[in-house]
């Protein structure tokens, strides 16, 4: 088989790359042994969010959110501009609200009263919050399928990389001008030298309770718990779905590569959620699951060449849905030799060489 671009991974990142390259007339083949959007893409929350742990993270998430807003998505992607409400528990976290407010031009600072007006189910005694209205939520597996609607997908894994493409697990060989690996934490099977580690997460979803929750809520303590590199952490992170269901997160865990639910960590995560929103405990959880983020040491993805004909797009950790479109745009600009919209250097894989 011959193609212009061979993409390994039918998750949101591979799908975004295929859609971008195809729009420029490139012939793409996507390979994945699993369902389209079936890995970390299906396991996550589908939160399109601007984050500012570093200037490079802010640049990529802002750029990518703009690209999402330019897309006219079909109804089954269930996109809603819910906005993110960062919840501040105390004065220290209110200082973080002020800092973020300066970075997010359209954001709005909420005092204690405005916070309860926005989300009446939050517990009393919280300090306030920051509403970022431009953030959205979507159902990522359907977004991946929509991005791939015009691209052939072959249900196979890459068995071995070859000088001009790959040999697949189904025996086929693919000759490609360019191979791009967008297979999340699984990428280290092919390129063990990359500093990517799986970071396990748990999620729970409730039955339908329309009107219970209005925004994606994230505790500002999340910054302390999520982006430290401690072995295990949980944070309050809840999301209203268009069905009235509530998605409850989140946990982060290194060193556990089993997909099994860890009951003690799941209950710690749910207790954290109930601590912020007491009446959550009256709602029925109907499903729980786990997934694996692809984490890098500096919390930025690897986007760019390993060799002239082998590129990577992986390590997006918890921001793959958001940053998939920016990732694809950076790679396409590199291929075409166009000036990129944001500096690509902070994401180049050779920063770890």
């Amino acid at each position: 088989m011959t193609t212009d671009v061979l993409i390994a991974g039918a998750g949101i990142v591979g799908a975004a790359i295929a859609a971008a390259f195809r729009a420029e007339g490139g012939k793409c083949l996507v390979v994945d042994p699993d369902l389209v959007g079936g890995g970390a893409t299906a396991a996550g929350m589908g939160h399109v969010v601007v984050m500012d742990d570093s200037p490079a993270q802010l640049a990529l998430t802002e750029y990518s959110r703009r690209l999402w807003d330019n897309l006219d998505l079909p109804p089954n992607v269930e996109r809603e501009h819910r906005g993110t409400l960062w919840v501040a528990a105390d004065a220290e976290e209110m200082a973080e609200v002020a800092r973020k407010h300066a970075l997010f031009p359209s954001s709005e600072i909420l005092d204690e009263r405005a916070l309860y007006a926005a989300e009446p189910e939050l517990r009393p005694g919280l300090a306030g919050g920051l509403l970022v209205p431009g953030d959205s939520v979507l159902y990522a597996p359907c977004a991946a399928a929509w991005l791939l609607r015009l691209t052939p997908v072959r249900y196979a894994a890459i068995a071995e990389l070859t000088p001009d493409g790959a040999r697949l697990s189904d025996g086929a060989t693919v000759s490609a001008g360019l191979t791009i690996l967008a297979c999340g934490a699984g990428i280290t099977r092919l390129l063990p030298q990359l500093p990517i580690k799986p970071r396990k997460g748990h999620l729970a979803i409730t039955d339908r309770y329309p009107g219970f929750l209005h925004h994606q809520l994230v505790e500002l303590g999340y910054l302390k718990s999520a982006h430290g590199h401690s072995a295990e952490s949980v944070a309050f992170n809840v999301q209203p779905r268009s069905t009235g269901q509530i998605l409850i997160g989140s946990s982060r865990q290194y060193g556990d590569e089993s997909p099994d639910i860890r009951p003690e960590l799941l209950s710690r995560m749910l207790r954290r959620a109930v601590d912020y929103m007491p009446r959550l405990k009256d709602l029925q959880v109907i499903r729980t699951w786990t997934g694996f983020r692809a984490a890098t040491p500096d919390s930025l993805p690897l986007i760019g060449p390993v060799t002239d004909r082998l590129w990577v797009a992986a390590g997006h950790e918890g921001l793959g849905i958001t940053t998939s479109l920016g990732t694809a745009a950076l790679l396409l600009d590199r291929l075409l030799g166009d000036p990129p919209a944001i500096p690509p250097e902070p994401y180049l894989p050779d920063r770890f060489a």
Binding site: D207, R208, Y209, T243, D282, L283, Q284, I286
Partner: protein, 77 residues
């Protein structure tokens, strides 16, 4: 006998009656599926989730697993 209401209609049932049995005295439909179909109890053992009703304001209670108590207000869509 235990007094309660189903969709506002007063009813009395013997002790030991499940909420599902009380609802069935009044009407066959317990809930509507997401696509609008009429649904009612299937398994009777708390697994199928088809018998859910709103009980004293709490949505999604499994009526086959609960016994009637005095003053219960049961509502179905």
């Amino acid at each position: 006998m235990i007094p309660l209401t189903v969709n506002g209609q007063p009813l009395t049932v013997p002790p030991g009656t499940t909420v599902a049995a009380a609802v069935m005295r009044v009407q066959p439909a317990f809930r509507r599926s997401v696509t609008g179909e009429s649904r009612g109890p299937l398994c009777g053992m708390g697994i199928c989730m088809e018998c859910r009703v709103t009980l004293n304001g709490h949505p999604h209670e499994r009526s086959c697993q609960l016994l009637c108590a005095p003053g219960m207000e049961i509502t179905t869509p």
